[in-house]
């Protein structure tokens, strides 16, 4: 990301602020960090583990008996049984996970690995990515926040907000900024949690509203916004991924104070300069500086070098068998045509020559004799056709007469 002209974000003045002609604050470099939902999902999942409290069954559970197996020969199964007598418990099975009152299979232990470590740089990259996502109104809307009435994105408020002490005033400020719709949605969504969490001190759940980020340490703003359901407050220097991407979903609605917004460059640095607060941390570079693939493809630089579109579709020809198909043979062997022709001619000539040869050897009948023979043949034919025999199917076949 070259240091191109950074857009100016105007600062919203609250009621009672002195009207300033300030041009605005330039957009901090973090907001241009690559948005990596995969990194955020990964890091969020791991980081969520870190506030867990261990749970386990008692170490002694199921073992507080002196049960012994009765062994074989007593027509009972061999699991250890409670000794003694005079009570229901005597003779009952003990110790096994299948026994009533026995220990469970693989009793849960407190030395299970509850927390996960995540690389420092990964954590920081995730937060930077989440911050970049908070600057995109589309992603914030997709997450479900009601930002239709917000005048500008990212929403930066003048520092007089940090001096707010009363919650009533805080609500007024939110209404002025057009951010109250989101806070109201969170307030109305308060409901009782389904499940056992109800009786484990997690009775109520609600949606997340805006996140207020302030810059100066010890501001009264924390107490003013603390009691609003769904609204969270955070210091710029200690931004939490679990607040910026609740549930692993990018795009929390964030309201910045002016000093917080200006401090972001210090805390997160830029793409070239490392941050002063996070030692050695430089913002991650995106794989593509311009990710708009459509625009790239249709740009002049690309289109001028690209080959023209080939609309015709070339399809494979069906393979013909040369042993059967004359045209196929001809393609392979051009001489085939002439060879075939010559063979045919030769055959015809041979047949003719043979016929002539035979004819010449045959005794030639005189003209009279040949006439008599012909007449005889004709009479035979008429005889067949006129005879009564032709009325019978069988005889007609035998005679070979076709009528």
């Amino acid at each position: 990301m070259a240091t191109t002209a950074r857009p100016l974000v105007s600062v919203k003045a609250l009621d009672g602020d002195m009207a300033t002609d300030a041009a605005g604050v330039p957009m901090p470099h973090v907001m241009k960090a690559p948005i990596r939902p995969d990194v955020i999902t990964f890091v969020h999942r791991l980081v969520s583990c870190n506030s867990r409290q261990p749970y386990a069954v008692s170490r002694k559970a199921g073992h507080q008996t002196s049960a012994e197996s009765w062994g074989t020969g007593r027509a009972v199964s061999r699991i250890p049984r409670v000794g003694g007598g005079g009570t229901h418990r005597a003779g009952q099975g003990a110790f096994g996970n299948m026994c009533r009152g026995g220990r469970m299979f693989a009793p849960t232990r407190i030395w299970r690995k509850w927390h996960r470590r995540v690389n420092v740089r990964l954590r920081r990259v995730a937060v930077a990515s989440a911050l970049a996502a908070t600057a995109v109104p589309a992603i914030v809307t997709a997450r479900g926040h009601r930002i239709e009435s917000v005048p500008e994105f990212p929403l930066v408020v003048s520092d007089s907000a940090e001096g707010i002490e009363k919650t009533a005033q805080a609500i007024k400020v939110l209404k002025q900024l057009g951010a109250y719709a989101d806070a109201e949605k969170a307030k109305q969504s308060v409901g009782i949690r389904p499940g056992k969490g109800k009786m484990r001190n997690r009775r109520y759940i609600n949606r997340k509203g805006p996140l207020i980020v302030y810059g100066t340490e010890g501001s009264k703003i924390v107490k003013a916004f603390r009691n609003l359901p769904g609204v969270d407050v955070a210091n710029v220097e200690r931004l939490n991924l679990l607040d910026l991407a609740p549930g692993g979903h990018l795009g929390r609605f964030v309201i910045w104070t002016e000093s917080a917004f200006k401090k972001l460059d210090e805390v997160y640095g830029s793409f070239e300069a490392s941050s002063s607060k996070k030692k050695g941390f430089v913002l991650p570079r995106p794989k593509m500086t311009n990710a708009d693939l459509g625009r790239l493809i249709n740009s002049d630089e690309v289109q001028s070098v690209v080959k023209p579109i080939n609309k015709e579709v070339k399809r494979r020809e069906a393979r013909k068998n040369p042993l059967k198909n004359a045209a196929a043979v001809l393609k392979l062997n051009p001489y085939f045509g002439t060879a075939r022709r010559m063979a045919v001619l030769a055959e015809a000539a041979r047949v003719k020559a043979r016929k002539e040869k035979i004819n010449s050897k045959r005794t030639k009948l005189s003209e009279e004799a040949s006439k008599i023979k012909a007449a005889g043949k004709a009479w035979y034919q008429t005889m067949i056709s006129d005879s009564d025999y032709t009325e019978f199917d069988v005889f007609s076949k035998w005679l070979g007469v076709s009528q």
Partner: protein, 285 residues
């Protein structure tokens, strides 16, 4: 961020407007022109987009451009469309002249569909349509039961009889010669012995004989008294009946008569006309 990045986040990560059903993926965003969750139809993933939305029967063309993407309040530019379909088409053509053809086509399809359903809605409003409303079954059944009990408790027959006898005694009917023999005898005997039955009379004023459709029981207080009385009576009757309980034999052939195709015996429907609201109300118990 570019549209492609946004689309990737929306489609493959999370979008609160996406609704996945067995028939397909839909978008619940009110600005979506087609209603389907698509790369080309997503109002969030396209920096230049337009839709038509309906507000109280008036259609508006909404447009957004990339220039205003960072100002959510001013994002959507609104143009009112005239009621005439052809004129609305012209206006759309004018505003979206240099926009991608696919989007313009989808918007025009949407306009067509919306005009059609607007016509249909208006036509339906003029008709009187049946509306099914449910009636709380427990309450109605309870009221009916109480009605029955009150009737029984009132002992209407007896009270009517005594009233008529009283009138007869008084001589309201003048000289009648054809009344039931038994009752006549009893009254004569009573008169003879001077043992006219003491009937509670209202001493507030003259008794007025007024026509009445139903037997009015006066105040509601009286009803309640009678109810209590009636309940006790019923209780006694039940005890008596329990001992010599005989069941009626079930009619042969009632099993073979199946209930398929018959109207529900539990559902009682009542039709009321409500001209004010232009619908017929069918009360279903």
């Amino acid at each position: 961020m570019s549209d492609d990045v946004i689309w990737h986040c929306i489609r493959h990560n999370h979008c609160s407007f996406m609704a996945k059903i067995e028939t397909g993926i839909f978008c619940r965003n009110p600005y979506n022109a087609t209603g389907i969750c698509n790369r080309s139809s997503c109002p969030l993933a396209n920096s230049r987009y337009a839709t038509i939305r309906d507000h109280d029967g008036v259609f508006y063309l909404y447009m957004k451009t990339a220039e205003r993407a960072h100002l959510p309040k001013k994002l959507w530019e609104r143009v009112k469309l005239p009621r005439n379909y052809e004129k609305a088409m012209e206006i759309i053509n004018k505003h979206l002249e240099f926009w991608p053809k696919l989007l313009v086509h989808k918007i025009k399809q949407r306009l067509t569909k919306m005009t059609q359903y607007r016509i249909r809605m208006r036509r339906l409003q003029l008709k009187v349509r049946e509306k099914i409303m449910t009636v709380p079954r427990k309450k109605t059944q309870r009221d009916l039961r109480r009605l029955d009990k009150a009737e029984k408790a009132a002992q209407l027959d007896k009270s009517i009889e005594s009233e008529l006898k009283e009138r007869l005694r008084k001589g309201v009917y003048g000289e009648i010669y054809n009344f039931p023999f038994k009752q006549f005898d009893t009254i004569l005997d009573m008169e003879k012995d001077d043992l006219a039955p003491e009937i509670e009379e209202e001493e507030e004023g003259e008794i007025e004989y007024v026509e009445g459709d139903d037997i009015e029981m006066g105040d509601m207080d009286d009803m309640e008294d009678f109810e209590g009385f009636g309940d006790e009576d019923d209780g006694d009757e039940d005890d008596d009946l329990d001992e010599p309980a005989t069941k009626k034999p079930k009619l042969p052939g009632s099993d073979s008569r199946s209930k398929i195709g018959r109207k529900s015996t539990k559902v009682i429907t009542e039709i009321r006309f409500s001209f004010q609201n232009h619908f017929i109300v069918r009360l279903v118990v």
